[in-house]
């Protein structure tokens, strides 16, 4: 089922076209990475998905229906531009936002306390926000976003400003959501986290959707016919392949004219090479990101 669908969405601000005919489906129960360079239109797309701003053209559907205010209570949103009321106690803030998301006051308070414990801040409930460190504030904001266990969570740069320990904590929370069957949209520039966490990726560039698909399928699509071979001797020249680089016992071989990896390895063995390990090349998300941006430019 589709959790959130954008259909031919256009949006301009003044003379700037932020989104041009963007159509994208966010699949339910998966983690989708929303990628793109700065100023590509990701935040505008997210804001339209949250009904914070309206598109000039096109439409948005949430869980199969037209976007309705009542349904938005089922979305948790962590904006890129972080902010909390600085002079308010942590628990009062969580209770307030819980109520705004449709929880009853007592329930919001209880869940707030529970989520403070989940993000590793069980003792800050009565402290004011301005007494917390930046990282702690960020975790409080994450608790605000996820405390209602939203069916869809949109997390814009959830790792920024966090240390490695807390990055692991946030990754754990996102994985927990997937196991619970909840949908997460992850907008981030940390491509290594995308590779670990996302099931699908979509990329926006200059207001256009330039990439959309399952992570493995996309990586496959952008992978080049190369083999990394670890052998006990230098590789000889073989037909249908070209040596790209060699360092120590590791060499990279480019396969030409549709030569299959198995055939390439067979030819090396025939040439007397003892092959210890063979790895097909898989494009990293960082490579894909850079390539897509360059191609679009």
């Amino acid at each position: 089922m589709v959790a959130l669908a954008f259909e031919a969405v256009d949006k301009s601000f003044g003379t700037t076209r932020s989104l041009v005919g963007v159509s994208l489906e966010i699949q339910e129960g998966l983690v989708t990475g929303l990628l793109g360079p700065n100023g590509a239109g990701k935040t505008t797309l997210i804001r339209i998905g949250m009904d914070i701003i309206r598109p000039d053209a096109g439409r948005v559907r949430l869980f199969g229906s037209a976007l309705a205010r009542e349904e938005l209570d089922r979305i948790g949103y962590l904006p890129e531009e972080r902010g909390l009321y600085r002079k308010v106690r942590v628990i009062d803030l969580l209770t307030y936002f819980g109520e705004l998301k449709g929880l009853r006051r007592a329930d919001a308070r209880a869940r707030g306390l529970d989520w403070l414990a989940r993000v590793g801040l069980p003792d800050v409930a009565k402290q004011r926000i301005d007494a917390l460190s930046k990282g702690m504030s960020q975790k409080v904001q994450l608790a605000v976003t996820l405390m209602t266990e939203p069916r869809l969570a949109i997390l814009d740069e959830p790792f920024s400003g966090l240390d490695p320990v807390n990055i692991e904590l946030v990754k754990g929370l996102i994985q927990d959501r997937r196991e619970a069957g909840h949908t997460t949209v992850l907008s981030t520039h940390m491509m290594d986290q995308v590779e670990v966490l996302c099931d699908r990726v979509a990329m926006v560039h200059d207001g256009h959707l330039v990439l959309d698909g399952a992570l493995e399928e996309v990586r496959q699509r952008y992978s080049v016919p190369e083999l990394v071979i670890v052998a006990d001797a230098a590789l000889p020249e073989i037909e249908g392949a070209r040596l790209l680089s060699s360092e120590g016992d590791e060499s990279t071989l480019e396969l030409l004219n549709g030569l299959e990896p198995a055939d390439a390895v067979a030819r090396l063995v025939e040439a007397g090479v003892r092959v210890r390990r063979v790895e097909p090349h898989r494009a990293s998300m960082e490579e894909i990101f850079l390539r897509v941006v360059r191609e679009a430019a």
Binding site: G14, I52, P79, G83, L84, Y85, V144
Partner: protein, 445 residues
């Protein structure tokens, strides 16, 4: 459709945030006490000063070239014939060997020449000197010699001239008309004012002056308090929007609630704080006025119940109207100073009745009063002043019409406010052009 639970959550949060601030607590409870203490101290210092000035003996000079105050009339006495207090004053001033006309706490020292009197004025021995020229009878002119660079306001100088005027009247008429005619010329009438109520009952006042003062002061004070509470609540509204922007919580808020719900919640929460503030101030002013009136003259004054009864309604309507406009325009500002600049126009419009307060107090139900009651910006304050001064003169339909216009304007202001509010909240950073604001507002529901 506005969701009540969200509005309630926003209202409660904003109300608690404001009433827990020290600035609110101080301005609500501390400010009136501070004001009363300060003004009481100032009034008593000045009262004591003036009372000492008026009760003490003052010396002025007189030069009579008109022959109206001849030595032979026996009006002037030497220093030895004066009271000990007067002699002490003369000693203090260094005045010796003169002739004095004793008019209670006022001594007129006789000088034979204008030059001599002028020197006494210049030396500061006397407050001023009055010269009756030879052609006084024909022209009625009197020259007053005052010290150059002397005090601008002299209480003593303002009391001597009426006394001198009466002395001249008496001297002009003495021996020519009967004494009782002289008395009537000196004081043609004293007026006893007696108020007649609507049912022709006579309301005798024991202290007309105090009653007049209280009747004029109460509406004025209530009006000022209403306006102050209204504007301070509206200022809190602008502040809360600026805080939302500065704290960068706008996007999270808008992802949780509709702009209409946020705007209504903020209006209600901060309005409740403003209403509470107004109630505390009103209670303090009314009870203070009652106590003051009771202490001063042991008479009871009529409390403007109509005004007090309608005040909360007009406060709420006025606040919602002006608050919506302030919230909308304030949200377009990119910083606190800019937001305040953009909202100052609304505040100025609501102060309009205070600029015409003399007209409203003099003729509360006249054309100006009626007109200002129908303009949404000025209606709350005008109606409260009118209902305080002359409640019987305000027709029921006028109150209803004023409220209806205010209500309709408030509805429009909230609708407009909600649209601008959403645009203003999202278009952070640089201020958008009017065209862009209108375009984005059209896209909103």
């Amino acid at each position: 459709m506005i969701r009540v639970a969200k509005v309630r959550a926003v209202a409660r949060f904003e109300f608690r945030n404001v009433v827990q601030r020290w600035s609110w607590v101080l301005s609500t409870f501390g400010l009136p006490l501070f004001f009363v203490t300060l003004s009481g101290t100032m009034v008593s210092i000045q009262g004591s000063f003036l009372s000492e000035r008026i009760s003490g003996t003052a010396v002025f000079g007189i030069v009579d070239h008109a022959g109206l105050l001849p030595r032979s009339a026996g009006l002037f006495h030497s220093e030895a014939d004066l009271s000990p207090a007067s002699r002490q004053t003369l000693d203090t001033l260094g005045l010796r060997d003169g002739l004095y006309l004793d008019l209670d706490s006022l001594l007129l020292r006789r000088y034979d020449s204008e030059h001599e009197a002028a020197r006494a004025v210049a030396r500061g021995e006397i407050g001023a000197a009055y010269v009756l020229p030879r052609d006084y009878l024909e022209r009625g002119h009197v020259r007053a010699l005052i010290r150059h660079g002397g005090p601008v306001l002299s209480v003593r100088a303002s009391t001597v001239e009426p006394v001198l005027r009466q002395l001249l009247v008496q001297r002009l008429l003495s021996g020519r008309v009967p004494p009782e005619i002289i008395d009537r010329v000196r004081e043609p009438m004293t007026i006893d004012r007696i108020a007649v109520t609507q049912d022709a009952a006579i309301h005798a006042s024991k202290n007309r002056m105090v009653e007049q003062l209280v009747r004029a002061a109460l509406p004025f004070l209530l009006g000022v308090l209403l306006l102050t509470a209204l504007l301070s609540s509206s200022a809190y509204l602008v502040q809360t929007i600026v805080n939302d922007k500065e704290n960068k919580v706008v996007e999270v808020l808008l992802s949780c609630a509709d702009p209409d719900e946020l705007l209504t919640g903020k209006l209600l929460g901060l309005g409740a704080a403003g209403l509470l503030q107004f109630a505390v101030w009103s209670a303090m002013v009314v009870s203070g006025a009652l106590m003051a009136a009771s202490v001063l003259s042991h008479f009871s004054i009529s409390v403007p119940w109509e005004a007090l009864g309608y005040a909360p309604i007009f406060f709420v309507l006025g606040y919602l109207f002006i608050g919506s406009l302030m919230l909308a325009t304030g949200s377009l500002g990119t910083s606190a100073p800019e937001a305040q600049k953009m909202t100052i126009g609304w505040a100025m419009l609501s102060v309009l009745p205070l600029m015409l307060i003399v007209v409203l107090l003099e003729e509360p139900n006249g054309a100006w009063g009626q007109l200002l009651s129908l303009i949404p910006f000025s209606a709350p304050l005008t109606m409260i002043v009118r209902l305080s001064v002359d409640p019987a003169g305000v027709a029921g339909w006028e109150i209803a019409l004023s409220m209806s216009i205010l209500l309709a304007s408030t509805w429009l202001a909230i609708r407009l406010g909600a649209r601008l509010f959403r645009v203003g909240l999202l278009l952070g950073g640089s201020r958008p052009s009017l065209r862009e604001i209108l375009r984005q507002a059209r896209l909103m529901r």
